[in-house]
Each structure stands twice: as C-alpha cells, then as structure tokens.
Symmetry: C2
Subunit: 376 residues, 2 copies
C-alpha cells in the first residue's frame, strides 16, 4: 500500500524511501568494515544534513564537491573532518582558510605547484592537502609515477601540509558487473599506493591513501595500502548504477512523484507533470544496454511498470510511453493518477528539488521533509 | 575590458549581460508591434522578478510553467494577468483558485473533459480556461479539427470559463533558419485559428488565440487571427537557438563564469570548476550541425575562443578542449584564469543557480545580483 499521505502531496515531489536508503548505507558500511578501511561518504549526492548524519555514523569523515557543501555540513551539520575533493582554485583558498579558522578540519586536493603555492600562502597557515592522482584518464590528477608528485610533496611537506594522495576511478561508471568493477578498484588502489610509495621513497609522509567511487567501493576485493574509501551515489543508487550491476532497481531509494495531466491515445503517450526540470537533463542510461529515457515509471507504491519509461521531456512535461519494441500493455492511468519515476542519476535529479519527502522506514509514521541545499 | 568586479566573484557564477538582454527584449517587442499582436513572455526561462519586470513592459501578460511561478510573480512581482501553460492536474485546481481569490487573473489550459470538470468545480467558481491544441505532434493538445474541442468548449462556456485556444510548436526547435521557422509559425497559426473557428462555428466565444515559441515568434510572417504570442528563451537566447538561426552567438546574454583548476597537457585538456551542476546536463546542441558539448568557451569579456568547448562534464568539473578536428590552438589559460561559458540551453543552465550576477548595460555601474527561484 502506498503511504496514505502521498495523495496530498503536490507534484512533482522528490520521494526518499528511508528503508532502502538505510539498507544502502549499511551495505557499504559493512563492506568497508570487512575490508578494514575507513569510509568517507561523498555528500555531493545528498546535499542534506539529515541524510549526511545517517551516512556519517561510523565513517572517518565526509567528502564534498563545493566549499558551500563544506560550510553547510560543518556549520549546520557539525561535521568536522571534511575533504573538499575538487582541485582547489587559488581564489578559493581564503574561503577554505576561513572555514578552518572556525574549527573545521578541512583538507583540499591539487595536482600542480601553483595550487600548492596558493595553499601554502593561506591566511592562518598552510591548508592540509592531498595530491590528486590520475588512475584512469578520467579528468585531473598526476600519473602515479609522475615525478611532480614528489616535487609538490616536498613543497607541501616543508610547511607541514602534506597529508597524502587521492584518486577516483570515474571511468568505472562505464563498465558492467562486479568483476569489471573489481578490476577498476585494483587500478585505483594500485595508482594510489604507487604514488604513496613514491612519496615515502623520497622520505615524505603519506598517512592518507584515499580512493573510491560507488562501483569500485562495491567491487573491490582487497584494499591493501588504502586508508579510506569515498563513495556518494551508493546512498540512493539510481538507474545508471543498476545498469552497470552496482545495485538492483529495487535498491533505488529516490523517485519523483508525478501526476498524469493528459494523453495522446493514438501515439500511446501519457503526459505527466514531471519534465526535465524535475528529472534533470541527465540521460545517463542512453549509453547503456537498456535506455530508460528520462526515467523508469513505477506505480505509486514503487512497483516498476514493465517497459514503461519517460521517453521525452520538456521543461515541465514528461511523455511516458512503452519502450520501443515492448510487448507490454500500457497501464490505465487516467488524468489525476499518480506515478513514481526512478531517476537515471540520483545526484542530478536530487539537485532539481529543494527538499526530500521521506517515506519513513517505520510503518505508521507520517511523511517527513528533509531540506536540500544547492549553490556554491 | 571585462567588468572590474568580475575578478572578485566566486565561481561558478551565472552572468547576465544586461545590454544583450535588453536588446533581445526590444527586438521581439518591436516585432510583435509590427505584426500587431500582443506579447505574453514565458517567465519559465528567467524565474526572476527583476528580469520579468523588464520583459513585461508593453506586454499583455505573462506565461508560466508552474503554479509556484504564478505565485511568486503575482505576490512578489505584482504581475496580475498570468497564463499557466501546462495542462492542469485536477489536484492543482484548489491552489490555482486560491491565487485567483487573492486577485491574480490566472488562466489555465487543458485538453480533456475530466480536467474541465475539475476546473469548473474550483472553489470560488470556474477558472478561466484555454483549450490546448496540438499543432505539430509535440506533446499535449487536441488536433485542430477534433470534435472534442467543441464538446469541452460547450462545457466550459456553460459556466462562463471558456477564454479561447492555445498552441505551442515545440518541434520548431528542431528546424533551421527563418523560412523553416516561418513555416512552423504558419502551422501554429493555422492550427489555433482552425480550432478557434470550430468553436465560433458552434456559437461559442473564443476571444483569445494564443500561439508561440521563440523560433516561431521570430519567424512568423503574418499572424492573422492570432491575439497573442508566447516566447521564453528569446530573453537570453542560447547555443541551441543560435544553432537553428534564431539568433547569433553574440546575442546570448547568459554565461557561466568559471576558474581554471588544472590541466592534462598531453591530452589538451583544461579543467575548470564548472561541471554539469553549473552548466546543467542539457546537451541540446548534440543533435545540431555543430555540437558545443556542455558549452562554448569565451574569455572573461565574452569573446568566443575559436573551437573551444566544454567537451565533458562531471558534477563540479568541466573539461575544456578544442573541438575534434580543429586547427585552432589551445589558449594559454593557467590555473586561476577565468573563462565564460555560453550555455546550450538558457532555461536549463539558469535553473542550476540561485541568482544572476548582472553586468549592467551602463558602463561604470557595479555588478548587481538578481535572485532566481526554483521549485514547484
């Protein structure tokens, strides 16, 4: 039975299934315990103090993607140990230093000497830093054997700011199945450990060896030499993660509640009031074996309708139709009927909404509202 | 010369070139004057009371895509005549009626009898309504000769709620050049006028004949029988509109200011702190003759770098590179350098930000901040 309060919600609304979320959190926490490494959840997915609190229990600290996230999670969430995991712009050093002056144990990352010089010149003293390593050609970072790692390391260490190395196998999102994710996890591990060994061989300290992505965190067989793992989307999961086998569709904790506003019978279309403003423009499953359009349609209780997807989206219109070639039949969904739509990408869809409407894990409890924030 | 205050801005920031915006507003206003029809700007693009005020001068009223837009523009912007141009969900009737009770002259649209019954049963009396007509198979609406138009019209008219017809040629975004846009404009006009004639032939009133999209508004040769034109993205324009010849790149008033945070020299990549969270996931130019990736890169003063695009985006990382096959050379942009990125789709990119930073039309004036809103 759908939660009785759903009928009174305005649409589109962002629903969070607390039971699924708690299971997702517990699943990764138990895994990291078994592997004997710390977990540092990436809060860019949730952008919510309420969600973060649940993710942080037993974790070594938090990861963020913007200084605004660091500020909100520290000031409003009381989270002290925060890694800002996007290469620092020199112009952002003062703001990072201000947060440290308030008592936040903020660490930054970088992969060049000009950034290191900026971090060393921070007001109030050098900011603790990880050197970014490139493990898979995804975006930033130095190759694990790049001699600049030691050069930058020396410069940072001279002012006591060298904390270690960090890498992220972003390309792991493009491969399917646990064995492929395990291979990327080993690549990530090897890159970080190689870079750490390079620093240590030069007589430099490297207490932190940080790796991670949701697929590699769930795929890793061993994490020898790694001290902490970062992951973000594991908390909600989404269709992209289900498409690469990092979870099942039944693990996806986020969905968008929408209302039917019309039909084009001859074309087999059902129109709803969730367009790309609600779902986001993310089409992450377009490159996967099964393309879910702008999302996979479920009934109000979260049961997937076979082959029913949001095939097109305008700003505030979603066009629901059966997947091309499907032999399923279109469900009867009159004007005013409600559906739930699983998103391609939880980080992108979540960011379109000001708050989560939480369906509580405990039966009989009312819906709750957990605010989200955005901006930089 | 770039505005002197840009250097102090945090990045990513959403920049609005006021001079270009005012020229865009004036261009469409003058065109509608020449064609002798009213203009009803669609405020879903700007979601800003400050921008709306400039668009509404001389207009017949506003168009919105959500009830929240209607509420904010009425309560905070003092805009009374508002068309909510997404098929009304029965559950939203009470909220629409509440806004009317406050004094807002809100009109809704629909294309089915169940919606009409809901609108007629609104608390406080039937809500004025336009019947939605499908002119190009884009999404909702009845075919111009569908007998249900009269059936619904009669039902609405019995309670004095029939105001007219409305259509939108969304498919015009997919064709290139003014002649093609003119053809779509004629299709839009003909569909709306045919439906209006059907109502009138049945003895029903049809005072409002509403058409529009940015390409057709700028492409229309004649608008006989039309009373008002709706358009939204004309206010800022974007790369998609430039790609179909509805504007030039020099008309695009919106850009994202970003900071260089790293390089991968061997790959020819420049990394910036504007990823898809800033640019949105909109890849509208991917289907056009020239694909701009996640945006076209300009210097801090807004001059386009030849062939330089955001070729890939993660949540907070943009990867800038030369277009494949380009013979241009990569500009020297060291860590800390600033660029401006023109967006594929102004509505989508704008929605990622809490405010515009306005570069004033008048030289010597300081930057201004105009808040934006989101949600439903």
């Amino acid at each position: 039975m759908p939660h009785p309060d759903l009928a009174a919600l305005d649409t589109p609304s962002l629903l969070l299934d607390e039971e699924r979320m708690l299971a997702n959190i517990e699943r990764l926490r138990a895994r990291m315990d078994r592997l004997g490494v710390g977990l540092r959840p990436h809060l860019k997915t949730c952008k919510s103090v309420d969600v973060a609190r649940r993710q942080l229990a037993g974790a070594v600290g938090a990861t963020v993607s913007t200084l605004r996230e660091a500020e909100v999670f520290f000031r409003e969430g009381g989270i002290r140990d925060i890694l800002y995991a996007v290469g620092i712009a020199p112009q952002k050093v003062a703001r990072a230093a201000a947060l440290r002056a308030e008592g936040c144990d903020l660490t930054v990352i970088l992969d060049s000497l000009p950034q290191a010089e900026a971090v060393l010149a921070a007001p109030g003293g050098a900011i603790p830093t990880l050197i970014e390593i490139d493990s898979d050609g995804h975006r930033g970072g130095l190759a694990p054997d790049d001699p600049r790692i030691v050069e930058i390391g020396r410069r940072l260490h001279a002012k006591g700011a060298l904390r270690g190395v960090v890498t992220h196998a972003g390309e792991s999102y493009g491969v399917v199945g646990p064995p492929a994710h395990a291979a990327f996890a080993e690549r990530e591990r090897l890159a970080a450990v190689t870079a750490a060994d390079q620093l240590r061989a030069a007589g430099l300290p490297c207490p932190i060896v940080s790796v991670g992505s949701t697929p590699t965190a769930h795929g890793a067989d061993t994490l020898d030499g790694v001290t902490e793992v970062r992951a973000g989307v594991y908390v909600f999961f989404d269709l992209v993660m289900a498409g690469i086998g990092a979870c099942t569709q039944d693990d996806v904790a986020l969905s968008v509640l929408a209302t039917v506003i019309g039909h084009q019978e001859e074309r087999g279309w059902i129109l709803v009031d969730a367009g790309w403003m609600a779902m986001s423009r993310d089409r992450g499953t377009a490159v996967q074996a099964v393309d879910h359009g702008y999302g996979l349609v479920c009934d109000e209780d979260g049961r997937v309708y076979p082959d029913l997807i949001v095939k097109a989206a305008n700003q505030e219109h979603g066009t629901i139709a059966l997947r091309p070639g499907s032999t399923a039949s279109l469900p009867r969904l009159p004007v005013g009927a409600r559906v739930r739509i699983l998103p391609n990408h939880a980080c992108a869809t979540g960011a379109q909404f000001p708050a989560y409407t939480v369906i509580p894990a405990k039966a009989g409890e009312p819906l709750r509202t957990w605010p989200r924030f955005g901006g930089w």
